[in-house]
Symmetry: C2
Subunit: 280 residues, 2 copies
Amino acid sequence: MSAKLGIIAGGGDLPRAVAAGARADGREVFVIGLTGSLDEGDDWIGDFPHEVMSPGAPGRAFKSFRREGVTDILLAGKVDRPDFSSLKLDMKGVLLLPRALKAARQGDDALLRFLVAMFEEEGFRAIGVAEAAPGLVCGEGVLGRHTPDDAHRADMERGFAIVKALGALDVGQAAVVCEGLALAVEAAEGTDRMIERVATLRQALRGTPRQRRGVLVKALKPTQDAKTDMPVIGVATVERAAAAGLAGIGLEAGGALIVDKALVAAKADALGLFVAGVKL
Amino acid sequence: MSAKLGIIAGGGDLPRAVAAGARADGREVFVIGLTGSLDEGDDWIGDFPHEVMSPGAPGRAFKSFRREGVTDILLAGKVDRPDFSSLKLDMKGVLLLPRALKAARQGDDALLRFLVAMFEEEGFRAIGVAEAAPGLVCGEGVLGRHTPDDAHRADMERGFAIVKALGALDVGQAAVVCEGLALAVEAAEGTDRMIERVATLRQALRGTPRQRRGVLVKALKPTQDAKTDMPVIGVATVERAAAAGLAGIGLEAGGALIVDKALVAAKADALGLFVAGVKL
């Protein structure tokens, strides 16, 4: 039987999917929701034993996990970089803040790596989504019934090259390419805002829901630790890509997560987009 | 005396500044304004001998330049990628279209290189802004009275690394970095839209006009031919950066242009931003 899993949950659909996937896999789960990152009004956390606390209270998190008999831990979901000047800190938080600030200055991945290291130093074992809920990992091949053509494959190739180059500098993990032209590249705004702005570009450069052109790609950053943070899409991503006139979504097989695969496939089929996992 | 200069003018302030700079440098100038790219209602072109024509009419452009005795030519300003399917073509345009389409598929720089090659094959000599109007080139050092501190210099260094990596893939030539975090990276939306979206990020990540943080950087793409297309800033760029709460602007010395240096320095001084040229 697998060890009890502690999930430190940020925003988005991923923490719910991981918790449900791990439970389906036969694991007991305990969730710590982070204030400021956990989606407000989102009550999936109520389905699991849980506590909600400030990201500045690591001492409380260690204590709760130990009390619950948690041995494996996992960070999932969007964790917003906190405003360190107004963060509520417990004693451990005060002690760890200088290292957190130093890591934060090096980028988001460095900050996440620090958070994982912090739990590992306390004796917990950090595992990744691929281990906790392997059904979420994107495989190779096409999901659903639409398939990319040669031009889409060329755009995916260019998109992956862009994301890998940017990722090596810990910038973003997504881009949109249309017939060779990089329409949008992700930085701090996140994938959703990036997709949305494609629709604001001149129409000659992009597709429309009637005439789909261009692809969204997401891939693991070379600096990114698959244990802590993998690119993720879900039904809402497909809907946004469709609204922006894109023809499809290309994901790094083994390097990206799909929340609710069956629903994603059904939505992509209904809207006329492909979703392809590509081995890089 | 310098040879007569033919300027193929796109949008923005650069073509005007180049035409005025070249004339001040003692050159005769003839301007061809490109429909679809030239700013509408902008009548600077009326101050120079000129014609306005479609980017699909290269035959007409060659003829006009020859009639005017133009030997050196220069492309300046934003040239929007045309909608090739609705482009009005002259005979030369029809003949050259397949090569233009092929170049366009490889990115904007490839398209510009093709346009320059097209004029060179007709016997014209393509020159760069640095030769036609050397006063526009950004030098090393600070313009105005505000200076970057060590944190700003670190952000500029990170920004230049991002722009050079992206530029090698012909993506963009600008980025915004704030305390190590890449807030925005430029693709097809252009520098103006990129700066504007910084102000839409969560306030913890960015500065404000009251507490300026973060820097805009612009640098020459490694794929970019300094003859055809250099990054450029002007007074409006300083105003946009100021509105987005940025602390300053870092430019590649020798690899970027400043339109109206004295006005840019005065505006940056008034708004509290630095403008720094950095030798890369």
